[in-house]
Homo-oligomer: 382 residues x 4
Amino acid sequence: MVGGGQGAFIGAVHRAAAALDGQIELVAGAFSSDAARSKESGAALHLAPERCYASYAELFAAEAKLPLGDRIDFVSIVTPNFLHFPVAKAALGYGFHVICDKPMTFNLAEARELAAIVKKSGLLFGLTHNYTGYPLVKEARARIRSGQLGAIRKVVVEYPQGWLASKLESSGQKQADWRTDPKRAGASCCMGDIGTHAENLAEYITGLQIETLCADLSTFIPGRPLDDDGNVLLRFASASGEPPAKGLLHASQISVGEENGLNIRVYGEKGGLRWRQEEPNTLELLWPDRPAERVRTGVGPLSPEAAHASRLPAGHPEGFLEAFANLYKNFAATLRARLDGTAPTAFDLDFPGVEDGVRGMAFIETVVASSASQEKWVKFPH
Amino acid sequence: MVGGGQGAFIGAVHRAAAALDGQIELVAGAFSSDAARSKESGAALHLAPERCYASYAELFAAEAKLPLGDRIDFVSIVTPNFLHFPVAKAALGYGFHVICDKPMTFNLAEARELAAIVKKSGLLFGLTHNYTGYPLVKEARARIRSGQLGAIRKVVVEYPQGWLASKLESSGQKQADWRTDPKRAGASCCMGDIGTHAENLAEYITGLQIETLCADLSTFIPGRPLDDDGNVLLRFASASGEPPAKGLLHASQISVGEENGLNIRVYGEKGGLRWRQEEPNTLELLWPDRPAERVRTGVGPLSPEAAHASRLPAGHPEGFLEAFANLYKNFAATLRARLDGTAPTAFDLDFPGVEDGVRGMAFIETVVASSASQEKWVKFPH
Amino acid sequence: MVGGGQGAFIGAVHRAAAALDGQIELVAGAFSSDAARSKESGAALHLAPERCYASYAELFAAEAKLPLGDRIDFVSIVTPNFLHFPVAKAALGYGFHVICDKPMTFNLAEARELAAIVKKSGLLFGLTHNYTGYPLVKEARARIRSGQLGAIRKVVVEYPQGWLASKLESSGQKQADWRTDPKRAGASCCMGDIGTHAENLAEYITGLQIETLCADLSTFIPGRPLDDDGNVLLRFASASGEPPAKGLLHASQISVGEENGLNIRVYGEKGGLRWRQEEPNTLELLWPDRPAERVRTGVGPLSPEAAHASRLPAGHPEGFLEAFANLYKNFAATLRARLDGTAPTAFDLDFPGVEDGVRGMAFIETVVASSASQEKWVKFPH
Amino acid sequence: MVGGGQGAFIGAVHRAAAALDGQIELVAGAFSSDAARSKESGAALHLAPERCYASYAELFAAEAKLPLGDRIDFVSIVTPNFLHFPVAKAALGYGFHVICDKPMTFNLAEARELAAIVKKSGLLFGLTHNYTGYPLVKEARARIRSGQLGAIRKVVVEYPQGWLASKLESSGQKQADWRTDPKRAGASCCMGDIGTHAENLAEYITGLQIETLCADLSTFIPGRPLDDDGNVLLRFASASGEPPAKGLLHASQISVGEENGLNIRVYGEKGGLRWRQEEPNTLELLWPDRPAERVRTGVGPLSPEAAHASRLPAGHPEGFLEAFANLYKNFAATLRARLDGTAPTAFDLDFPGVEDGVRGMAFIETVVASSASQEKWVKFPH
């Protein structure tokens, strides 16, 4: 693991997610750019002191010298955004598979370069667009794929949060600090941090791709250099001759009192659906002229994809960590198949990868460009 | 009453709303453009046959000849949109006060003309933007007015319906038939019928006015001549030097499975709120760093405006008709004060009027223009 | 109308409910035991002064002298409990049909006497167990009747309120005052006022009858002479050889923060259902091994009984008054059929009557007896 | 770990829960009474083959011979009920600390014996009444302890499930099979499996103890030898001179369509609360005459107990496994303190123990006795 020392949020999430199914063991890390802190963080995790490295460079170099089987199998990158690319490039250079937090890189150019590197390396690359790991997100996708909703007409995807409604970064709060800093976060705060999740979720569930968009980003907190809110009109590419779907995406970090309100509604010719991340074990299916159905994790026959992503019986809530763990589970299964020389299943391969990352970075750059433009519709990717 | 014969929807709503508080009695009507049908409709309502007129012209002329006190006090106009203007103009011409269904007229020009006529006449004019009649809509407005939410930053107002997701008008369904007909409905179906409610609700609650907008209207049903869905980015005029609020408005008649899902979320500097028409007796107040509050009709100290608009104790659901009745109640109280020569209270005067109607018509024309334009931002009113 | 003067709650409800459909006109009343107050109340309702009587005795005597067609058609009794019986008896004695608030009488003996009088008179008698007027209560009943849930196994019916959690009656609050006074309310406060609604709802929906019960009533507020909370185990009579259903009923006026939380859950062999009065337009149907369905007023094909009880399209909330009005609507239709010499429909006849009232009074006396007894199971009726 | 081989449900839950925080490593097990199956199960978990034992006897004997530090620190018992006691007794005999699934033993006599053994041994004993591990259950408890709700008056605790609404055990389904078998499950199916969770939750949250009860257990499925539903009236022991609280507890496995619906409502003099396991990150606080508050995991200042039990920020749902993991986390921290010779914190010690287990077994025997009795109130413990 690179990053994720004491006090970091997402590192602990990755570790819990990786541990959940007993298939992955954390054995080495460069948890901080401060060597002592890295050691200390590793000690708290019961790691061998000699495998708590002072830097990612040291980590890769040292581990690569260990015999196969003793060395790490893959690297988790959980640093702030601006380090994703150099760390991933280095890891791949040493022949390590990679799981990386999102957004994938600092900018689109890096993302494209990374995609090329991954492709050339033949190594596995996973990106933690974790919200697609929820069982009922997979159910939603399966229902749409199977045609139950008919051609999709309208998509409304939202990601309201309220935690940056005041100038939290001034208090030194670590999460707020780097996310609002263009040098570490990139071209966008709100759209980079959470807008990309919304974009990824909408495309994952519907199987459609955004084609043009019209964005209005805002910074409501005086002195904050990046956006903390954004509203976007969407037009999707037409699937197989159908009239193109339209939609809205909005994300916010200043919607006071909202927690982590990612949610999506999709309406097709024959039916609709609604899903909310904060109550992830419920998927509502809407039909014309008959009662809505409340699909629940663990109840009745779900799609194989959803069933595969669920660990507990009905009414035993599965949450954020379980969804996150599904990415690790599938990544690990694909990796194991690779190590065993067998073919991974379609279930194993169901984790976001470098192409999702390129698309996410393109989304960020496109909404930033659109927001600055007087042109109504901007092509995506820009 | 003009319009609202047998088979009509909104006429029955107006009658029930007017009757609810025992302050208004229906005594005469021209319920249909078909004289026999008008008579028949009136008979079913236990009206005197001689006061069931063959046309609105006949109604006004005949009633105006009755002695004061025997004649009607005011006219309710519940016809399809294209008749609102001529009927209202005629009624005002005879000196009758008017309550009119929305959208107020067929187009903005008529709306402006009607506003001038009303002003000149000195008569009362009520417009049934009924959703502002809900007690907790008034509570939301009072909370924002009092500054509890701080300066408003973001407004999300939605009005999804699904009833026109198929070509219902082809089946001859009366409601669908006229609403999708440009000759009777005007320049817009979805935005005229329900988008205006969303616009009115957002401005009523926040006290802000939309300044510019960017719209994308759609017609998803082949062969339908008007829009059945629309997505709009909003920018509000700045209140007292604050950074301007932004927002989204979307309305739809093709969101399959949605019923009558008008809802609004408003986020300010200090707090937020959420209200949904389908569960109108709950208003959620959102705060930073402390639990959300669930304000309920009839529970604890509400604002005087909300308390005045509520008839029942806590937990006794008040619905659509009660909210609608609040417009009639306030209109009737204002009218009674006028008849009694007393001053109406602020509560009495709280009903939408001709200026709301002008604004609603301007909204329709502006979103239609914006949708057709390649310009990103269009001024409102256009 | 007898009772329901200014300041009373339920009188205004009855008036609004009766007015809603334009089929009933309030023309006379004895609104208070204080003659001046009765006049004043009637004036506020725009009644002719000569028909605002000083007492119910005067009302009945005077109206009975009017020619048929001019006199009242029926009497609404909305007094405190202890007056229901004498007023009803007098009204029936003069040949007036009666609608009476619940609980029907002061005690079971009176209830049985009243039932005999009604039977002998051949007059109509309606009892406002208003919660059975909701469209989806009728839908629930229709679903069970049709066998969709299979034989019923378990019934959980609850009626929590919190308004008497402190000694409100000491403040002189009128509603609290008479309900906690054994001389005016009868043998029970909580079970009489709301427990009977729960009992009536459970039996109406399931079509089953309680056979034995085991009650534990409490008075939590020191110095209050009647119960303010009660918990009851239920066993139902077996329907057609099935194993008998069991259940729980609890009602409370000290469940702080609860509003008017009447709700019911029924589980059968093949399916279950849930309905809550505070969100009355939703009925959840539960199935084994497939998604729950959310039945909504106005959506899709409902039973004819439910459709008949609904006035508005989907998503236009119908509430307490509309449900209440359904009792008046059906009573009025039955009365009209009687006046017209035609046969009322099954829909018209769907309102609670004197037998429901007898059962309700028996319920009160049985739970009071059970609570005082050391015997586990007490037969119902006692 | 003893039990929890392939196909078992609860073993996998214990493993995930134990792994979540990176403080516990599974190193040995006797996963099945079938030696080959135990090996196979262990292999799938990447355990060393020599530590996958053929029986619990072998496991304890072999591990006890390993040097301190190499051997297991404690034993998790996840077998069917009837084996809990002998396995726990054996483990404690070898000096191993124990975490055991609930119900703790086969009957009350065993429970009392085990309590004595634990006491004498001085070893740690944890019991996985996992539902008390939820952050907001701890918040509820803290609020009541601090007196915010005042003296408690009424408790309603429910645990509806529907999975045994048909005779699932006939199909050979493993979970249903042993739970409905008196030889493996004990004196009760429904009350033993889930009723005890409800009892434990009610006493944990309120800090009150049930004093007498009145139960009505049922078996709705013909041929099933144990109860599959039960309704219980509760009376609690008075706390410090207050009038005693009353309540209801009902649990069911035949409530078709219900998933895992454990929930509780508590009403005190000054306030009430509601919590539902299926949406565990929300706790509703109810107040007289002011809006209800929606307390959420991760939002605002929670009690230290709740904050300690939560791993993620607001809006990142924590579920069943996280709550389960909290028991392991606290147990592990207490164990580590013991190993380190330090004092565990109050947080560390917050896990259910042998006394909860005795009380749970007493509850089962008391409700079974009460149900069979004609006596209304039966003392608890019986």
